[in-house]
Symmetry: C2
DNA sequence: CCTACCGATCGGTAGG
DNA sequence: CCTACCGATCGGTAGG
C-alpha cells in the first residue's frame, strides 16, 4: 500500500530550499502541495478508520511513503494535520452544498430543496471524499479549542442553510416538529449512516435519500 | 497512544483478574465489587469524555483513587475494562427497554409503543447511566473482534424490539419509509443527540420525545 | 492493593 | 526529506 521512499538523488533546484524549522502553512503552495497531499490523504483515512488518538504519526508517514520524522517537515504537529483534514472536509462540504443549491430550479419547492440537501449530504458522507467529513464528526473532541472555534463557524453556516427549507415545510404543515430540533434530528439520522451504510450494499445513495424523505416528510417514493 | 487493542482473550466480565495475591474468598464476594466499582465508573466517564485510546489506565486509576498498577489487579487489560463498561451499558439498556415495554397497557397502539421506546432510549443516552451506552456507540472500533461479536448479539436484540411497532406503523400507512431503514435513521437521530443535547437546557427528555415523534410520525404534540 | 520497574512506542527535533 | 535520536508516557508485570 505504501510505496518505498523515493531516493530523489538530484536536488530539486527549482524548489525553494526550505531548511528546517517552519513547515509551510498555506494550502496554496503549488510545489509543496505535492508532498503534503499524500500525508493529508493518509491522515484522513487513518483518522477515520482508527481514530485520531489511535493513529501514530509514523503510521501516517508510512502510508504516505515517508520516514517517521518527515510529517513534521510539512506540519507543525499531529494536531495541525488533523485540523487540515477537518478544514478540507468542511471546504468540500460547503462547496458541495453551494453547488447543490445552485443546481435547483428557480421555483423549487421546499421539499425539493430538502431532498437536494439530503442527497448532497449523503454524497459528502459516503462519496469519494468520505474520509474527511466523518473525521470532523467523530474527532471533534480531538481538536483544540482554537481549532474548534474556527471549524464551528463553518459548520454553523453549513447547517444554517437547512433552515429555510425546514421552516417552509413547517409552515406548510408537512413538518410538524420544531424546525430547529428537526434539523438536529435529521442531520443526526444522516450522520449516523456512517456507522452502518455499505456502499456495496443493496441501497444506493439515491435510495437512502428517498427513504429519508419518506421518513421525515411522510412522503411516498 | 497506540493502535486499538488486538483481539484479547475474552474478558472474564464478572470475575476479577487475580493473577497473584489473595485467593478469592467467596464466589460472590460483595467486597470485591466495591473496589471494581470505582474503576468501572471512572473508566466509563473517561472513555466517554476523552475516548478509549486517549485515556490512560493511570488516569482511570487516579480517578478511582488508586495507584497506577492497581487496575490490573482487577482487570486483565485496558481492553477488558472497556468491555465491562460496554457490557454494563447494554445490560442497563436492555433492562430499561424491558421495563418500558412491560409498563405499556395491554392494547397499546404502535404509536404509544414507539413513544415509549424513544423515551426510554433517551433515558439510556442521557439519564443517570449516560456514561455507559455512549461509550459503546462511539468506541465500537476499540473493541476486539471477539468482544464486538458478543456485544453485537445483545445490541441486535435491543434493536429488534423496535421492529414490531415500526412494522405496524408502516402497515397503518403512518410510517412511509421501509421499517428497517426507518429504524436505522431513527436510532441514528436519537443517538446523535449525545453530541448536542444539554440536560440543563430548555428541552427536557419528554420534550425531545415529543419532537421526535412529531418528526417521524407527523404527529402533533 | 502499592512500589518499583520494564520494554515499547509515542510526538517531536537536530542536523544535514 | 532522511537519519538518528530524545524525553515522556504508555500498558502491563514482579514481588510483596
Amino acid at each position: 500500500m505504501s510505496k518505498p521512499p523515493e531516493p530523489l538523488p538530484a536536488a530539486p533546484a527549482s524548489a525553494p530550499a526550505r531548511r528546517r524549522g517552519r513547515p509551510p502553512k498555506t494550502l496554496a503552495d503549488p510545489d509543496e502541495g505535492n508532498r503534503r497531499r499524500p500525508l493529508i490523504e493518509a491522515a484522513a483515512r487513518l483518522f477515520r478508520t482508527r481514530g485520531f488518538a489511535a493513529t501514530s504519526t509514523r503510521d501516517i508517514a508510512a502510508a504516505a511513503g515517508m520516514q517517521s520524522g518527515s510529517p513534521f517537515y510539512h506540519f507543525e504537529s499531529k494536531g495541525a494535520l488533523l485540523f487540515v483534514v477537518v478544514q478540507e472536509g468542511m471546504a468540500f462540504a460547503t462547496q458541495s452544498q453551494r453547488d447543490a443549491l445552485a443546481r435547483l430550479p428557480d421555483g423549487a419547492s421546499p421539499r425539493e430543496q430538502l431532498k437536494s440537501l439530503v442527497r448532497q449530504h449523503f454524497e459528502v458522507l459516503h462519496g469519494p471524499r468520505a474520509d474527511f467529513i466523518p473525521v470532523m464528526l467523530y474527532e471533534w473532541r480531538s481538536l483544540s479549542s482554537t481549532q474548534r472555534e474556527q471549524i464551528a463557524a463553518i459548520k454553523d453556516a453549513y447547517e444554517a442553510c437547512w433552515a429555510p427549507a425546514l421552516q417552509a415545510l413547517h409552515l406548510q404543515g408537512v413538518l410538524k416538529a420544531d424546525p430547529g430540533t428537526a434539523r438536529l434530528f435529521i442531520l443526526g439520522a444522516l450522520n449516523w449512516s456512517v456507522q452502518w451504510f455499505n456502499p456495496r450494499g443493496a441501497y444506493s445513495l439515491d435510495d437512502l435519500t428517498e427513504q429519508a424523505l419518506a421518513l421525515f416528510l411522510g412522503d411516498v417514493a
